[in-house]
């Protein structure tokens, strides 16, 4: 029953509170995108969190890190602590398992999630998260933004849903060999990438909307995959045209049933 604080979201379904509370949700990266995602998930009523970030808050993060304060930056508070503070401030009795490390160093908790949000910077990082989610039957929702060019600068971004059995990020044309190899060639290059709060908010909100629909099924769309492209200059979020040419209900890269840890076969 939707009561009290969730009474205004009762359109999500009569058992939406229970459905939302039953889910274990993961957020990898608690910066510009992930801080929005965590805050919204807590507002909605998710109760079981697995979160990862090994970074601390600095002054340069405060233009976009939701929940972060000047005092946090002065004390170099871990981003993990801010996310935990946000969740516990909104959800009494929430279970939050936080890891101040790369998720690859403690992957076991992430495997328990039914939905994982990837708010990471690199294509290879996204690829590794997607692989883990596929092998442990979890939805992967990718959130990312970037700013290109200078005259004028162009704000872009994407929200991609990669689900077990459906088209993956390679199928959808988001993860391409060219992007991965270009990134590998740039490995080690210094320089902070431009980031601002409002595109992160739009992208995170869209990603959370996809997750709520996966849990509550309130639109009845039952998406097998999704790739939404954000144009921050136009203020639009449109489905990628690449999906017109993709079978969203299958994937040649992740065979159905290829689950759990990889195994060796003697030949």
């Amino acid at each position: 029953m939707n009561q009290g604080r969730t009474s205004r979201q009762s359109f999500l379904g009569p058992d939406s509170d229970e459905r939302i509370a039953s889910i274990t949700v993961g957020v990898v990266g608690l910066g510009g995108g992930g801080s929005h995602v965590v805050q919204q998930l807590a507002h909605i009523g998710f109760r079981d969190f697995v979160i990862y970030d090994d970074d601390v808050v600095e002054d340069s993060n405060l233009n976009r890190l939701v929940g972060g304060t000047s005092g946090d930056a002065l004390s170099l508070l871990p981003k993990l602590d801010i996310a935990q503070r946000t969740i516990h401030g909104l959800v009494t009795g929430a279970r939050v398992r936080g890891f101040a490390c790369r998720w690859q160093n403690q992957p076991e908790a992430l495997r328990e999630c039914q939905i994982v949000f990837g708010c990471v910077d690199s294509y290879v990082g996204r690829s590794e998260l997607e692989v883990s989610c596929r092998r442990y039957l979890a939805h992967y929702i990718d959130v990312g933004m970037d700013v290109h060019g200078t005259n004028p600068p162009i704000i872009g971004g994407q929200v991609v849903q990669s689900s077990p059995g459906g088209a993956c990020m390679r199928c959808m044309g988001y993860l391409t060999p060219a992007r991965l190899s270009e990134e590998a060639a740039r490995y080690g290059e210094a320089g902070a990438r431009p980031q601002v709060v409002w595109p992160n908010g739009v992208l995170a909100s869209t990603a959370v909307g996809l997750a709520v629909d996966l849990v509550c099924d309130w639109t009845k769309k039952r998406r097998r995959a999704e790739y939404l492209v954000y144009d921050g200059n136009k203020g639009t979020m449109l489905q990628s045209v690449t999906l017109n040419h993709v079978d969203l209900a299958s994937c040649p890269h992740f065979p159905v049933g290829d689950l759990g840890e990889p195994f060796e076969v003697e030949l």
Binding site: S22, Q114, I115, R135, Y136, L137, V256, L259, G260
Partner: protein, 172 residues
């Protein structure tokens, strides 16, 4: 904690198969293959594929909902044998046609656990067990490798669109 996890696609295929009428059996049974994944809270059984029981492998026995013969069990043993390289075990599955929490019936308790020692002898490194679906819940018992006693799964998840998570403690 043990969680059993299945994709929505496989779950619906399994339910569709089990819902088909049979010439004489009152219900159908099936088998799901599954592997263990290690999690922070314990382990997860990931159901990898579903094996339907052919019509001719049922035995006409009006005293029970469904009885299968040696042909069916031989086919299961073959599946376990071929899954040994990846430690893939087998789970007996059937449906109880009611809503809410479910469990083993008297017949289930008398008959189903007797299947497991045979599964374990063919695939000792794999998990095996029993999964019973109700119309909106599930119950599962898992024999982990090396253990002759089952453990009741704490949670069963169907991951797809939509996601369904059935937790034992909610209704107990």
């Amino acid at each position: 904690m043990i969680e059993v996890r299945v994709s929505r696609e496989m779950y619906e295929a399994m339910r569709a198969d089990l819902a088909r009428p049979h010439e004489f059996a009152a219900e159908r049974v099936g088998f799901s293959m599954g592997r263990i994944g290690i999690t922070a809270s314990g382990c997860m059984i990931l159901l990898t594929r579903y094996c339907s029981v052919p019509d001719e492998h049922y035995i006409d026995d009006p005293t029970v909902g469904a009885r299968i013969g040696t042909d069916a069990l031989t086919a299961v043993a073959h599946a376990i044998y071929h899954g040994r390289a990846k430690a893939e075990g087998v789970f007996h599955v059937h449906v109880h046609e009611h809503y809410g929490k479910t469990g083993m019936s008297r017949t289930d308790k008398a008959e189903l656990p007797k299947l497991v020692p045979g599964f374990r002898s063919v695939g000792p490194q794999a998990p095996h067990g029993i999964i019973i679906w109700s119309l909106d819940h599930a119950a599962a018992w898992v024999w982990l490798p090396g253990s002759s006693e089952p453990v009741r799964a704490d949670k069963t998840s169907i991951v797809g669109a939509p996601i369904s998570v059935f937790r034992e403690e909610w209704l107990s």
